[in-house]
Amino acid sequence: MTRGNPERVAAATLLVALVLLGCKREQRRFSDMSRPTASDNGIIMSELQPGPAVIHSAVQNSYDDNAYAVAEGKRLFDQMNCSGCHSHGGGGIGPPLTDDDWIYGSDPQNIFATITEGRPNGMPSFRGRIPPQQIWELTAYVRALGGLQGKAIRTTRDDHMMYKESEQARNKGHPSPTFVPSK
């Protein structure tokens, strides 16, 4: 079987393409003891700042854009009984999570703080009850509920009775963030 020049070119291109695509790889972290436990970088809960607004750097929650973490967060949301107050994002005793109204901020570290510290008027503190890695996974899921995760990251339907679309697909808009970065 003779290999002509065009076939060599094609094979070489293919090989290069494959090697290049080995670069950005999907991560599924099972054991992530290095996740930050406290909210190290300052959490901001108000849009107002004196003087010019300062860009603050959000904690790089690399669980954003991680489909596995969002799926784990969804599992934990039910298992840790968040659904007991927030239903499947629609709210009940607790406020809905699929709307655009983020009382305590929608940045990952804000949500992490909400779950870890608890909030007045009924949100329990889960510090010491849920390990930090799992709280970060829950954070990623809550952001998905709020429409802040891409379509490819969200899980679609459960293997349960589903009278409507998945709860992560409800919010088609974008919630107001806690601050607007200065231009």
Partner: protein
């Protein structure tokens, strides 16, 4: 020199019989080379509609995937060689065995069997190209894109990880986050399109383009096997089209095909998948059986005994292959009476395959075997496939299957039948047809090393697995505990894998060295009897100088050498071929094969791109449909040549 029978044209009153002079032959040869020439260079390669060029790409690509699948298998064997090994973790291991199975089944086995058919069948039946040359090219590009899609995903750690069979609910939206399974489902789309295209090509070509006189009972058994395989593909692949489509829909757009809470059923997936999955393995096996018939005929110098029985047993195997699928589901809560029917059918399918083996043995008995490498692979086939077939009859029994289902016993069984039943004949076919494809002989000495290493390696790797299964080792496990006592047999099995790798290296070395400086083979180095050996090696792009006429099953043995009767009168300025009737291959009319064009590549990129977009959004389907419509518009734009021949109503009698 050849006898000539001219195609009757409207203006000429009579047949023209006689010998064709050297000058006339040379003239036809020059004109055919001119009109069929495709040129070298990248654009010519991308637009080629030559069936041999496309089939060669298929074969090379399939062998690359085979090597990749083999590397995955080697990694698995390293991981399993010792208990509690940490060579790969569970996530990577699950991806590896899924990609190994998907590669071997979807990207290697069926494509390579189709490809050898697409290469050899037109030459063996005496035509110049397959029926739909542009469609053929489209099939290859779709296959290539699908395979690349899977491997790009795998190398990005987004490879599917739910097994090649992707049972729901594990592969469903709730338990497989991310796009891994969506990518798998769309890879299926690509390969099933390519498979269906190949099947359509082979059936149409064989039914309508055979050499005059090649009635149904004179078709070489390999060609029969390719036709039967193609019919199986057409009936089996829609099941997985539906299944993978339903899975993709469940995962992307919230349908509930497999959601028990909303009226779906996890068992539906199993039925749909295995309705395809079981015929799939016979799709892989049947062409291999055809290859064996070719090899046995040539190397025993005897026509195969019992031709009608051989054809009918191939057809029965194909039919019966569709009635076995539930034997993959014996552990599910299906009613026992129904399951028993599948026990009987699974045992029954051994009968037609047995008939084939007995007929080959009878042929060998009456012939004189020559122990070339190709023939050695046939012997290896009998030894391995019969063992695998017997373990298969064992697991057709429900109580026994309930102990060994999903254990390494089944792994042993299907590797014996697939490697013994398909890969060994395939390797024999490589050694047999390599001279025809390249004009050079493979080294027989290296070939013997290849065979023995492969044979020893397969037995060493897979025979211990029978025991491992009975000793309780399940499948698809990334590790096992030391106290289970499975370590020694696993180590033996892993050593066998090393031997198989060695045989693969020998083969690759043999091919590379023979391509450069192997012995030139000439037209018919083996003294074989079928039409592909009537043309130079490697076959010219137009296959045969003149369309041959066939008056028996072994045309090169029943005609004096160099005196094959042929048909003259086909145009040489266009890509013209002869269409003949289905039953008796009487000439009907001329046919013009389409010239090289970039359209297949464009359609593959557009359609393939939309299928990939459909992984992420259902709009991919819409866009894909619109683009496909547009491109097919260009594809089917009618072109009528001014002196287009009309079909004849009264075919002439053939001698």
């Amino acid at each position: 020199m050849a006898h000539a029978y001219a195609l009757p044209s409207p203006n000429e009153p009579d047949d023209r019989r006689g010998f064709i002079s050297e000058a006339e032959e040379q003239d036809v040869r020059t004109r055919l080379e001119q009109s069929w020439e495709e040129g070298s260079g990248l654009y010519a390669w991308l637009t080629s509609t030559s069936h041999k060029s496309i089939a060669k790409r298929y074969i090379v690509t399939a062998l690359v995937f085979f090597a990749l699948g083999g590397i995955e298998a080697a990694v698995m064997r390293v991981q399993l060689s010792r208990p509690e090994n940490h060579f790969v973790g569970p996530d990577l291991y699950n991806q590896i065995f899924t990609v190994h199975g998907s590669t071997m089944m979807f990207l290697f086995a069926v494509p390579v069997m189709e490809a050898i058919g697409l290469y050899m069948v037109p030459i063996m039946i005496g035509t110049r190209n397959v029926a739909f040359p542009r469609l053929n090219a489209l099939g290859y590009w779709m296959y290539l894109i699908g395979g690349v899609l899977l491997y790009v995903a795998f190398f990005s750690n987004t490879g599917p990880d739910a097994g090649w069979f992707a049972y729901v609910p594990l592969a469903g939206p709730a338990y497989s986050p991310g796009k891994r399974i969506d990518i798998w489902a769309q890879m299926i789309t690509f390969t099933e399109i390519a498979g269906l295209i190949g099947a359509v090509e082979i059936i149409t070509t064989v039914f309508k383009q055979r050499a005059p006189g090649m009635s149904l009972n004179r078709i070489p058994l390999f060609v029969w096997s390719e036709v039967i395989m193609s019919f199986m593909i057409i009936f089996a692949l829609p099941a997985i089209v539906i299944a993978s489509g339903a899975l993709a829909a469940d995962r992307l757009v919230d349908t509930h095909f497999f959601n028990p809470a909303e009226g779906g059923d996890a068992l539906l997936w199993q039925h749909l998948f295995w309705f395809f999955g079981h015929p799939e393995v016979y799709i892989i096996l049947i062409p291999a059986l055809g290859m064996i018939s070719s090899i046995v005929t040539t190397f025993t110098r005897r026509s195969i005994f019992g031709y009608p029985a051989m054809v009918l047993s191939l057809i029965s195997t194909a039919f019966l292959g569709f009635s076995l699928w539930v034997h993959h589901m014996f552990a599910t809560p299906l009613p026992q009476l129904g399951q028993s029917l599948f026990t009987a059918a699974s045992a029954a399918i051994a009968i037609p395959t047995g008939i084939q083996i007995f007929c080959w043995m009878a042929t060998i008995w009456s012939g004189r075997p020559r122990y070339t490498t190709a023939f050695m692979f046939v012997i290896g086939f009998v030894l391995l496939f019969v063992l695998g077939g017997l373990s298969g009859v064992m697991i057709s029994s429900i109580p026994y299957d309930l102990q060994v289902h999903d254990t390494f016993f089944v792994v042993a069984h299907f590797h014996y039948v697939l490697i013994g039943g398909a890969v060994f004949p395939l390797w024999g076919a490589f050694y047999y047809w390599f001279p025809k494809m390249t004009g050079r002989l493979l080294s027989e000495r290296a070939g013997k090393w290849n065979f023995w290493l492969f044979f020893a390696g397969v037995n060493l790797t897979f025979f211990p697995m029978h025991f491992l299964g009975l000793m309780g080792m399940p499948r698809r496990v990334y590790t096992y505990l030391p106290e289970m006592g499975w370590g020694n047999l696993n180590l033996v099995s892993s050593i066998g894998a090393v031997v198989i790798v060695a045989s693969a290296i020998v083969f690759v070395g043999n091919v590379v060295v023979s391509l450069r400086g192997g012995t030139p083979s000439g037209d018919n180095p083996w003294g074989a009897s079928t039409l592909e050996w009537a043309t130079p090696s490697p076959a010219p792009i137009y296959n045969h100088l003149f369309i041959p006429i066939v008056n028996g099953r072994e045309p090169l043995w029943t005609n004096p050498p160099g005196e094959l009767p042929v048909v003259t009168g086909l145009r040489t300025d266009r890509h013209e071929g002869l269409i003949t009737s289905l039953m008796d291959a009487e000439p009907e009319h001329r046919y013009e094969f389409k010239q090289p064009t970039i359209l297949p590549l464009i359609l593959a990129l557009a359609g393939g791109g939309s299928i990939i977009v459909a992984i992420f959004t259902p709009w991919g389907v819409t866009i894909g449909a619109a683009l496909t419509l547009l491109i097919l518009f260009c594809w089917f734009w009618p072109t009528i040549s001014p002196d287009h021949d009309t079909p004849r109503r009264h075919p002439r009698e053939m001698p």
